[in-house]
Symmetry: C2
Subunit: 90 residues, 2 copies
């Protein structure tokens, strides 16, 4: 991903991630990939919607992919968690 | 949506919705649309992933759309909430 930056969505407030995306796109990055897992998936959708509705109105949501990732917890066992990737381009 | 059934994802356990989707698809419905808003968005992704990984392995995730919906709360004011639609077909 040369021209494309990735923003990982975690548990911080939504506007932190919105600001990260807006800063990148206004700085000349044409396409940003939002990635999130588990409960942060809802927040990733919020970020995409807020960016394109309020800040960069010519941004478009491109491909949205969902998948399952295996994560190890602290007890050493594995569990599955859902993940999402949302592409935002302008 | 004649051939297509909609399953609204809310706050019940994930497996309730998985069962609803699996029942429909095994009953001959070729395409099911999952719809969710707000925090239930993560659960909708879980449902789609569990259905296609564990129960109906020839099911495919089709179009995924995200949007913003305006909802009225009990005080009478409006707020925006993100929404997702995930199409599952076999």
């Amino acid at each position: 991903m040369s021209e494309e930056n990735i923003v990982y969505i975690g548990n911080k407030p939504v506007m932190n991630y919105v600001l990260a995306v807006v800063t990148q796109m206004n700085g000349g990055v044409p396409s940003v990939m939002l990635k999130a897992r588990g409960r942060a998936i809802s927040r990733a959708v919020d970020v995409a919607e807020i960016v394109r509705n309020r800040f960069i109105t010519d941004a478009e949501v491109g491909a949205i992919d969902i998948s399952t990732e295996e994560v190890s917890n602290m007890e050493g066992s594995n569990s599955n968690v859902s993940a999402i990737e949302i592409q935002l381009s302008k």
